[in-house]
């Protein structure tokens, strides 16, 4: 059997311009997908907690007390003022607020001669003598 190539085919070099993928290439492309599926990029958590941390909220509340009580001076009964204005605060918070105000340089605290009283907080009761707070 003998063929005359030149009769039928012109520019054989053009035949090199094939775009047929080989079996090995097909397998390689598929393996890259199937055996190594993409993983979502890591999500960077810029905030350690989604909500405000409890301690931070408490600190902000304590800081805000200075301005709040400053607009209400003089306060005849500081403990009574605290539990009345912030009934949701527990004993620990109320005592922290009390201490912050009593020892702050902008205020002067003085115990009155009144009898000891009981103050209800969100989770307990505090017994204390009334204390007056005024501006220095």
């Amino acid at each position: 059997m003998r063929y005359i190539i030149a009769e039928n085919l012109i520019g054989v070099a053009v035949g090199r311009y094939q775009n047929v993928p080989g079996d090995a290439a097909i397998a390689l492309a598929l393996r890259r997908i199937i055996e190594h599926p993409p993983e979502p990029p890591p999500v960077l958590e810029f905030a350690a907690e989604k909500g405000n941390p409890v301690a931070l909220v408490r600190l902000r509340w304590l800081d805000s007390l200075l301005d709040t009580v400053g607009g209400n001076l003089p306060v005849e009964d500081l403990m009574g003022w605290l539990v009345e204005k912030y009934p949701e605060r527990d004993t620990s918070d109320v005592l922290a607020g009390f201490s912050a105000l009593v020892f702050h340089r902008d205020f002067q605290a003085t115990f009155t001669d009144g009898a000891q009283r009981a103050y209800d907080t969100a989770n307990g009761k505090i017994k204390a003598s009334p204390l007056t707070l005024v501006s220095t």
Partner: protein, 183 residues
């Protein structure tokens, strides 16, 4: 008679990377009847004519392991359609080859993980899918039957069969982490 019928046309199509299948008459029948003659003829030009076990023809590439630019996209596209077919409750092969598909109804952007795969090969929307399908049409793996409608041709078995085999072996190796593919 030594003259090979449709030789110029067969050569012209194969050299462009086209796969000749049953849709391509009369070239397909000519190749089926006288495969050895054609293969011998092309071998003289340094070209290897391949007769696939599924009965279609193509030229073996010069560099079988080199990955053409479009192949990763085709691979992702094919993997997604096979993965989707595996979840349809019927034969994957029947699902792929026995129906027409509408580009706008393809599952390729229906799931985030599919879209993520496509993004990796820079296919972002249905226009990208259409470009990809146009290329597959040029090499005889799919055929457009309307502006938005196509079907897979038999030579798509070159990717389809491998996709199934690799997916199944990956599934066997890591049953919990591999995509579910059933035959």
């Amino acid at each position: 008679m030594n003259e090979l019928p449709h030789l110029a046309n067969i050569f012209d199509r194969l050299k462009r990377g086209y796969h000749l299948g049953p849709e391509d008459e009369p070239e397909f029948s000519a190749l089926c009847e006288r495969f050895d003659d054609y293969a011998h003829y092309f071998a003289a030009l340094g070209l290897t004519l391949v007769r696939h076990e599924r009965e279609f023809f193509y030229f073996e590439p010069d560099s079988p392991e080199s990955v053409p630019d479009t192949l990763p996209r085709i691979a992702v596209f094919s993997y997604i359609i096979v993965d989707h077919a595996a979840n349809q409750g019927r034969s994957i092969e029947e699902f792929i080859f026995a129906q027409h598909f509408f580009v706008t109804a393809l599952p390729h952007f229906a799931l985030d993980r599919y879209a993520a795969l496509l993004r990796q090969v820079e296919v972002y929307d249905t226009n990208g899918i259409k470009t990809l399908l146009n290329h597959m049409d040029h090499i005889g793996w799919v055929k457009w039957v309307d502006e938005d409608e196509f079907r897979f041709l038999r030579p798509f078995h070159r990717v389809f069969s491998k996709c199934l085999a690799i997916a199944q072996s990956a599934q066997a190796a890591q049953p919990a982490a591999s995509p579910s593919v059933e035959t």
